[in-house]
Symmetry: C2
Subunit: 66 residues, 2 copies
DNA sequence: TAGAAATGTCAAGTCTTATTTACATTTTAT
DNA sequence: ATAAAATGTAAATAAGACTTGACATTTCTA
């Protein structure tokens, strides 16, 4: 799964720490998600979509795994 | 978080087992999600949206917790 | 160009989500 | 009414999301 959080965050001039605070996770979690280390939970994805005023599908691009 | 998987599944005349097979999880996982026992992972939510040809936001309704 | 801010990363641990197995109950169809 | 299909539920375990803390590197900015 890919995402464009880094771009959206830059557009809004937010640091990883500020975005983390805004959605209630740690800065390292934002970093890990941006770097594709793991996918967020569904609630966290919803909160990200809320901050960016985007649909989840506009932030995350799902590809079949395997 | 609420969801209308049960309704969407009924509209398409799918059993929990058939839906489970379609997205690659166990039947019990579908049952648990329908009953609100937990939220699916983001990849699982995407697969559900794919089967139902809906956006994630059309299937799941997020409410702040706390 | 030096200090501060931001980012990258790693390890260890916690908590939540997902799976399996197994069995009970309910619904559907004959 | 009976058999078969579907659903409900629960315990044990595995897998993944997330935290904290620590330290290194990169990028801003005064």
């Amino acid at each position: 799964m890919k995402n464009n959080i880094r771009v959206l965050r830059a557009e809004r001039k937010l640091t990883q720490g500020e975005l983390a605070d805004a959605i209630g996770v740690s800065r390292q979690t934002i970093n890990a998600i941006e770097k594709g280390k793991f996918d967020p939970s569904l609630p966290t994805a919803f909160r990200l979509a809320g901050v960016f005023e985007k649909r989840i599908e506009e932030i995350f691009e799902y590809h079949e795994e395997g």
